[in-house]
């Protein structure tokens, strides 16, 4: 259903409309268009606080995902009421991502879309703690990014490429 987008930081200029388009396309590629998802563009301060509070790592990061449902990777949630048509929230560390892009020369908007794809997969139970989990997640990221590439003409690759 809805992609609720918030830009809670003032450090980096974020184009809302293309980001929303990308997230909607990725969500559709996951077969989860019926589900709401929240997307917050956050600065390093907020990411540090959340990372410290929920992962005991008080440092900025590129993405944090907070799933609404606990699901097995590859399965969609089974909501019992309207309020449960919710995948959860993704916090995009746009300041952190922007800093990384400046260091590596990558395109910020492209990396933002790829990071959002990674966050969406986490909301649907995909993990990368083991090689096996990573392979499964990597394949799913490739699949949904290929769909986005088809729509936009981009050549996006998963965030977790080369992790193992």
């Amino acid at each position: 259903m809805s992609v609720v987008l918030r830009n809670a930081q003032r450090v980096v200029s974020v184009r809302r409309a293309p980001l929303r388009r990308a997230v909607c396309a990725l969500r559709a590629a996951l077969g989860a268009s019926r589900f709401d998802v929240g997307l917050v563009c956050a600065g390093n301060g907020l990411m540090r606080r959340l990372n410290g509070a929920y992962r005991q790592r008080p440092e900025p990061t590129d993405v944090l995902s907070f799933p609404f449902h606990r699901v097995v990777a590859g399965e969609l949630p089974r909501p019992s009421c309207r309020d449960e048509y919710n995948l959860g929230d993704i916090f995009l560390g746009v300041e952190y991502i922007h800093q990384q892009c400046r260091a590596t020369g990558e395109d910020f908007d492209s990396v933002l879309a790829v990071t959002a794809a990674h966050g969406l997969c986490h909301l649907l139970g995909y993990q990368h703690r083991t090689e096996g989990e990573w392979q499964q997640m990597y394949q799913k990221e490739v699949e949904i990014l290929e769909e986005l590439n088809r729509l936009t003409g981009a050549s996006l690759r998963p965030l977790t490429a080369g992790l193992f």
Partner: protein, 283 residues
Amino acid sequence: MLLARALRAAAAAALRPPPRHPPRRLLSSSSPRALLPPPGAAPPLARSLWQLGGGWRTALLRPRRGSAGGVSCGCGGLHTEGDKAFAQFLTDEIKEEKKIQKHKSLPKVSGGWELEVHGTEAKLVRKIAGEKITVTFNINNSIPPSAEDETQEEQKPDEQEPDLTSTPNFVVEVIKDDTKQTLVLDCHYPEDEVGHEGEEESDIFTIREVSFQPTGESDWKDTNYTLNTDSLDWALYDHLMDFLADRGVDNTFADELIELSTALEHQEYIKFLEDLKSFVKCQ
């Protein structure tokens, strides 16, 4: 309250000093007959009191010339002990407010905006590539009620009070050189609905209403359609936000506008206190 007022009026009537000006019309011979005392009647109490030449009671309202605490300004205005205490309070208050004043002059907004201030209303103007963008706001009623009342009991006595921040609604007008229509966007800062944590995760500002208005006309044309964003398609909303960002109205701008508005509000508050002090002390 009404009874107290009546009692005070009666007491004041008994204490009224001799008039310096000719008696009012009510006491003249041309007054309606019913208001004049019957012939031979004893004069009313109030008159007999002031006929004694004022007496000691007049000192409460107007000290006699030369007495301690007498006012020699000759302005003819009322000068009470309460006014004196009020003026002294204002002197101290003004001193304190100037001490904590963050900006002695108004801070600039980055991005080439020109500032015009008329009292409590400020206007930022910018011209880019055939377009004129103006952002107008008023600092009156721009400080939202804070949540500090809920935590006042927890606050230690030596802790400083939290800073007051002005977050005014602001109106963005976009005028393209070749059209007779102005696109008007009414923008607000979100209210503190979910506490401080929620504030960090929300947009810095929101667009509430959008409308087209005839360029150059000061009267609002309410027959023109006004788009309310409460139930607006999210994608359209994001396009409007990107539209504003391209013209310099983004989160950085919104943040700097808060700084400007807060400084202007404080400046006007101090000026008001100074005017109040002059008014109370001696007009």
